[in-house]
């Protein structure tokens, strides 16, 4: 099962990656375009989302409707998402349609019509999306948490701010596309069933003549507030908390991942056991690693009724801190098996592989093999994880709550 990663770099710097998967009839591809929320100028929070919609409203010779019909005609399962650093645009599809699909995506990225009359609905949808977050407190707590936790502008809301979206103009959005759709820094990946030579040939024709260039990484500012409460007369208090840890390229990365797994890797992990199984405080409780290139954290969510909110927060932060006091051999073994198993289970999905190899390249400048990741996980131990936790304890938290009651943050 030793997988091989195909790689080719276009003359303008655009990186093409691929991983062939046996026994599948589908392919998945994605473009990481360096125009994520944190990469955009001040005052334009939310522009990335508007742009990710607008560019699909007509491109090349096709009107918005014709383009949509052409994409649907290929049976594409499209995905567009805005992250801190990149806009990710891609699809999963039957392998035979890959060439045609790439041609259409070439149009979208290079020759979007960007008509004024199509800008308004794209912007309006983004504004409505921000408003709709108010009716989804669990999601909103995560958005706000990243805003407060990360040094500015890394955690900037990928949904945007209503005031900034309202003042965004088509002209300004065109400028942002011109400045940030930097194909020399774009990463393209494909996984599943495909012919890499054919893909490279087609991508060369589409993108090689396009702009190379380098964008400056954003200068980092201060972090936000340690505690933020948003009043909402809902049924639960939605608690989000984050604490700082190492980044994916740092020495102790695998130790951090194993530590989070001990905390929240399964139903026998500490948070689930202490918060839900023993005390019945929550239904939804979990923590996971969240890493960016310039900073990273462990993020945790718990939803509970108001009377239990304080106890829930106290038990959760207590478990984060208790991790440094000792971990058993058995816990470490379960954590390692869990991480390795999840790695292999995810490697069966073309979308998840296409995303995985692009993400690796973006973070590390290379693609890790599954074998390497397994070995690094295997290389951790009780001593290495507890040693890491002594050097980098989970002690300071950024907390956000949404609900009818505030909590006291120690």
């Amino acid at each position: 099962m030793a997988e091989k990663v195909d790689k080719h770099v276009l003359k303008n710097g655009m990186v093409l990656l691929g991983e062939v998967m046996e026994g599948v009839e589908s392919a998945a591809f994605g473009f990481l375009v360096p125009a994520g929320a944190a990469a955009l100028p001040e005052g334009c929070c939310g522009a990335a989302g508007v742009i990710a919609d607008w560019i699909f409203r007509g491109a090349g010779e096709r009107s918005s409707r014709e383009l949509g019909d052409a994409l649907d005609g290929l049976g594409l399962h499209r995905s567009s998402s805005v992250g801190s650093s990149n806009i990710t645009l891609g699809s999963a599809l039957e392998a035979g349609n890959l060439g045609e699909a790439l041609g259409l995506y070439g149009d979208v990225l290079l020759r979007a019509s960007l008509k004024d009359e199509e800008f308004e609905p794209a912007r309006q949808l983004a504004i409505d999306g921000v408003r709709a977050l108010d009716d989804d407190p669990r999601q909103k707590v995560g958005v706000r948490l990243r805003e407060e936790f990360y040094p500015r502008p890394l955690g900037r809301s990928t949904h945007g701010r209503v005031e900034e979206l309202e003042s965004l103009t088509a002209e300004r959005a065109r400028e942002i596309i011109g400045e940030n759709f930097n194909f020399g820094e774009t990463i393209f990946s494909v996984a599943g069933k495909y012919d890499f030579d054919a893909v490279c040939g087609q991508m060369e024709g589409l993108f090689e003549g396009e702009r190379r260039g380098a964008s400056e990484p954003a200068a980092l500012g201060a972090r936000g507030d340690r505690y933020t409460h948003i009043e909402n007369e809902g049924a639960q208090v939605h608690i989000g908390l984050m604490t700082e840890t190492v980044r994916p390229m740092d020495e102790d990365y695998y130790e951090a991942r194993v530590a989070v797994q001990v905390l929240s890797g399964g139903m026998s992990a500490r948070l689930f056991t202490e918060v839900r199984e023993k005390r019945g405080l929550c239904y939804a409780i979990g923590a996971r690693y969240h890493g960016l290139k310039a900073a990273a954290g462990i993020t945790c969510y718990a939803g509970t009724t108001p009377d239990k909110a304080q106890e829930t927060l106290d038990v959760v932060t207590g478990e984060f801190r208790r991790l440094g006091e000792g971990i058993s051999e058995e816990e470490i073994q379960r954590a390692k098996v869990g991480l390795k198993s999840s790695l292999i289970l995810h490697s069966e999905s073309t979308s998840s592989r296409a995303g995985g190899i692009a993400g690796d390249y973006y973070m590390l400048g290379r693609v890790r093999s599954l074998e390497e990741i397994k070995e690094r996980i295997e290389g951790t131990s009780v001593d290495s994880v507890t040693g890491f936790l002594r050097r980098r304890p989970f002690g300071e938290f950024t907390v956000v709550t949404i609900g009818p009651r505030q909590v006291k943050v120690g």
Binding site: M1, E22, G23, V24, E25, S26, R57, S64, R65, G68, D69, L71, D72, G73, G75, L76, H77, A92, E94, P121, A122, L125, D128, R131, A132, D134, D135, D136, P137, R138, E233, G234, A235, Q236, G266, M267, S268, F272, T273, R276, E277, R279, G280, L281, C282, Y283, A284, G303, T305, R334, V337, G338, K340, S341, S342, I344, L345, E348, S349, T350
Partner: protein, 408 residues
């Protein structure tokens, strides 16, 4: 791909699809037990029982169960719907036998009073969590209104009141009625040894006694009522529409799925071009939900209060147009491509395959290959969809809206 099937003497069906090129395997127990099998007094018991199965057996504590799954790196969980409770795990092939043994043991749980008392709090937290999610809340309320008192409209979670009143004795009694071996299917998909799974099934499940769990089925629902409820903390209008459709056993289910995709797929559908593309609504989708003996088309739309009247007007016109002119050849072709590629992608994962394998046995009592499903989708004609529209007029919908206060 190789299909395997065995039936134990007590009626438990074991269905397997072996795929040697998979890197993992998935196993699941599919139990015909859901909220439609409950009375009002015990509403929520199927789902609560699903939680209680994780609490272990006479020999296994809850912690031991969780550790046993986690030691094998299993991605395991369960879900409960109106009609089924499904327990599943995806694992590396070398662990499938042990994980199947574990699930087999858990299907005869201890249902201890002390676990029941603690888990009641967790269930009530889950109910509270969904109350804060209007997109879910409105669907559940609409189901209740649509089925107008028929058990198919029962809430899966139950209410805080029904859960408060539920006793462990009532749960044991319900378990005794629904978890009969001949009311369950054990399914496996991916890379595994068939004979080993059959042996585990015989050892673990062979002694369970068969009895008739039963269920009354038939075409039900469609009150056609309309209701709006206000909640002070909401900012958007959350609209759910439901109208009758074909049953899970009906061959026309493929036509019904394609119709739902044409009307309300996330992109490229009539809802998309009529509502989302024009920024009238930020979300507008329709799904076809096939059930035992009945079925329904379910739409969910979220928009501003200013737009909701116009949105309903546009939806009305879409339904009118479908009733008078049906669907076009070109939109059917696109919908087929999307539905087929979704089938291909989903079934490349053992976990995705498991779900179809299990439910095909639960509803149809037979095996269907992915290729059969794809051919059935490809074979649907504009006329087939026309006949579904004619029999199940989308205009006769039941409507529930959750939205902000309109006073002052």
């Amino acid at each position: 791909m190789e299909f395997k099937k065995a039936t134990l003497e007590n009626g438990l069906v074991v269905a397997g699809e072996v795929n040697r090129s998979a890197k993992s395997a998935a196993v699941g127990f599919f139990v015909r037990a859901g909220s439609r099998d409950e009375s009002a007094e015990i509403n929520g018991v199927s789902h609560f029982l699903e939680h209680m199965l994780f609490k272990g057996t006479d020999r296994l504590s809850a912690q031991a169960v969780n550790e046993a799954f986690d030691r094998r790196g299993a991605q395991f969980n369960a879900f409960t719907s109106e009609e089924n409770t499904v327990f599943y795990a995806a694992v590396l092939p070398e662990y499938l036998v042990e994980v199947t043994e574990l699930w087999g043991a858990l299907m005869r749980p201890a249902l201890r009073d002390e676990d029941f008392a603690i888990e009641k709090n967790v269930i009530k937290e889950e109910i509270a969590m969904y109350k804060d999610l209007p997109s879910f809340d409105v669907m559940e309320r609409c189901r209740g209104l649509y089925f107008g008192g028929h058990p198919c409209g029962n809430s899966v979670l139950g209410s805080e009141e029904s859960i408060d009143g539920l006793t462990a004795g009532q749960m044991r009694d319900y378990f005794g009625r629904r978890y009969a071996p001949n009311n369950m299917v054990l399914a496996c998909a991916g890379d595994f040894e068939w004979e080993q799974i059959v042996r585990v099934a015989e050892e673990r499940c062979g002694k369970w006694r068969a009895w008739d769990a039963g269920r009354e089925v038939g075409q039900v629902g469609g009150s056609g009522k309309k209701e709006r409820r206000e909640k002070g903390n909401l900012v958007r209008e959350h609209v759910c529409l439901m109208s009758p459709g074909v049953a899970a056993q009906d061959e026309r289910r493929y036509a019904a799925s394609l119709l739902a995709s044409i009307v309300g797929d996330e992109v490229g559908s009539r809802y998309f071009w009529g509502l989302v593309d024009k920024a009238m609504a930020e979300s507008a989708t329709m799904q076809f939900g096939a059930m035992d003996g009945t079925g329904a088309f379910v739409s969910y739309i979220s928009c501003s209060s200013e737009n909701v009247a116009r949105v309903m007007d546009i939806v009305g016109r879409i339904f009118e147009d479908l009733a008078s002119r049906g669907v076009r050849e070109e939109e059917l072709r696109k919908a087929k491509n999307k539905v087929v590629s979704a089938l291909v992608i989903k079934n490349e994962l053992p976990m995705g395959r498991l779900v179809d394998l299990g439910f095909n046995w639960v509803y149809l009592g037979r095996y269907r290959t992915v290729e059969e499903d794809i051919s059935a989708v490809r074979a649907v004609t504009v006329e087939d969809i026309g006949s579904v529209i004619e029999q199940f007029d989308l205009r006769g919908f039941t409507e529930y809206i959750l939205g902000p206060s309109r006073g002052s």
